[in-house]
Symmetry: C2
Subunit: 336 residues, 2 copies
DNA sequence: CCAGAAATTGGGAGCGCTTCCAAAACCTAG
DNA sequence: CTAGGTTTTGGAAGCGCTCCCAATTTCTGG
């Protein structure tokens, strides 16, 4: 029941330094190593992280900062999935995770994180176009990887999905099934993903030579704005509605049915995210699936590369998305 | 830009020990204190957590362990909310959170946590009737608070909602609206909350002198078992279905409608959890609301009391629940 | 069998902080 | 003005570990 490395050293008849070497994979003769490991085995010793961290300057703990609207955090599985992905990538390297959710002022959190000297790096969700926390982190010495990205972050490492491309693809799909008056309900104005998706929509519409003069209404990613947004779009006589996320598509569907219109015959409907309920809607919702778990895992891997080689140039990763076509756009389409 | 306490000491012309005292609220003369604080203000020094932790044996970081079925973690906002509650209570004491999700073997995690010497205590979700991790934690020196509880944990500190009482109340409500053949779809067999809710149901049925001979079918908290469970209950001619959670109620609703039955006229339907979508179903779902956030916050507060006074006796807290009655049981009832 | 190179090992100095202890400074009252 | 008590302060010893450096041991080949 040795508690410290010194006790371990005494028990195995070598110096503290040698024990440390076998613990950390230093060069030790096979004979010595096996002797120490024997003792190690029967003593269930665990190195003290604080001491190790103080001495080595590395803790094998990474920080995760999610500054996010609590309301979204609740109902959107995005964060759970992101956490899962990160958590499992972390576990692969037996590293720990310190989590901050956004309930203090951002600057405060920033200070805390930097201070601790406790994390080797940080993964931070960058979903706002201007976020002092992200700026501060990027300006600091601390290796930082963003999940999501802002146009300005050209020099930062980030992991994101290609929202522009995905929204373009969805819009193109809508066009390909013969719709031309395609309404769009946006996400929150200052949200990066929202901006990307909108850009993708505009891009596809433009390429097809379709007007977007009065086809865009502003939403905020929540269901109620889907309800109202759809109402206003229907008044303008659209034949398809593309919502920046599934939650709003849910609202839009309510409105469409309330008016006695059929989906997709009268109005095709598409969302984004492929939340759990999307496949279960009536009709099942055409949407975009993003590998959120994978995104989290990739962010962690990215971060570790940065930690291990601080001089390495930023790595920017765009993960692919998948168009999930269901009956809300293609009536007789494939069942999911 | 002092980085260490020694630099700070030099800058303010006192000893390292004195700086440490003003940092930690030791007794320092007013004059000295203000001098040091002045320096402190213009230097944005942050104590190194690892060093502090090593020297003092306390880290102001608590561990949070959520060993949970990844599938549930995804779609159930329970965990997000729990995290939120804990996170905000933690922020109130400017403490940090180390998070482990359940992706390694439990024993492994346990070892890691205990080893680190890095957390002052741990909050662990105890949702399985037999969980070696929980047993190990409780047996260890580490202050531990459970969220949820097992019958066996008489001597542990925990925070839970009174699931027995809540399920009893819901069942009683169903009875009070004139139903007598009340079917019940259970949660996962070895889950504590599931067991509690089932007990509450049985208790209420027994008190009312109603038979439960063939009214209970086994579910697993997921929607599909709600679908199948409801089918089997309807075959037995029930006039109400109480599901151990909302996700299954969702499935049950599907089945009921597929058979052309009306809710609540033909079959009353009740869930448990009051998830976001519950109020939005057609008809809105009668369910039980639990203060999950509050549960998380309370768990943290509880833990801190334990940490500050290790000799204190375990504190067991049962948080109240709220019956949310909507149209799935009372057709003309209050709109929510 | 021995010099020299290579591999292994132990000694010891810190990492930045808290905290015990004793010295120094300050009060009080006689 | 001084003895005795009370605060306030600084010195110094660690907390458990890593890692540099030098000493020791082991291995080469001539």
């Amino acid at each position: 029941m040795a508690r410290t490395i010194d006790e371990l050293a005494v028990l195995s008849g070598v110096s503290r330094a040698t024990v440390s070497r076998v613990l950390n994979g230093g060069s030790v003769s096979a004979k010595t190593r096996s002797r120490v490991e024997a003792v190690l085995g029967e003593t269930n010793y665990r190195p003290n992280l604080a001491a190790r961290s103080l001495a080595s300057g590395r803790s094998n703990v990474v920080g995760v900062v999610m500054h996010i609207d609590p309301h979204l955090l609740f109902q959107d599985p995005y964060f759970s999935q992101l956490l899962q992905g990160m958590s499992s990538a972390l576990a692969d390297r037996s590293a720990g995770m310190m989590l901050w959710l956004g309930n203090r002022s951002k600057e405060d959190t920033l200070g805390t994180i930097l201070s601790m000297g406790l994390v080797d790096g940080v993964v931070v969700t960058a979903n706002s176009l201007d976020d002092p926390l992200v700026d501060g982190l990027l300006a600091s010495e601390l290796p930082t990887v963003l999940v999501g990205h802002r146009k300005a972050d050209r020099t930062a490492s980030y992991v994101d999905v290609d929202g522009v491309h995905a929204a373009d693809a969805m819009t193109t799909h809508l066009i390909s099934i013969g719709r031309s008056r395609i309404g769009y309900i946006t996400g929150m104005p200052r949200n990066v993903a929202a901006a990307d998706r909108l850009a993708g929509y505009r891009q596809a519409m433009k390429r097809a030579g379709l007007s977007v003069a009065d086809t865009i209404v502003e939403g905020d990613f929540n269901t109620p704005t889907g309800v109202t947004g759809a109402a206003s779009l229907l008044d303008r006589g659209v034949d398809a509605i593309f919502c920046a996320n599934d939650a709003m598509a849910l609202g839009a569907l309510e409105t469409i049915r309330a008016r006695g219109l059929r989906v997709p015959e009268d109005v095709a409907l598409a969302g984004f995210d492929d939340l759990e309920f999307a496949a279960r809607l009536d009709p099942p919702l055409t949407t975009v699936r993003q590998g959120v778990r994978e995104q989290g895992a990739e962010a962690v891997r990215n971060l570790f590369e940065l930690i291990e080689d601080r001089s390495r140039s930023p790595r920017r990763v765009l993960l692919p998305t998948e168009l999930v076509i269901r009956q809300s756009t293609v009536g007789g389409g494939p069942r999911t």
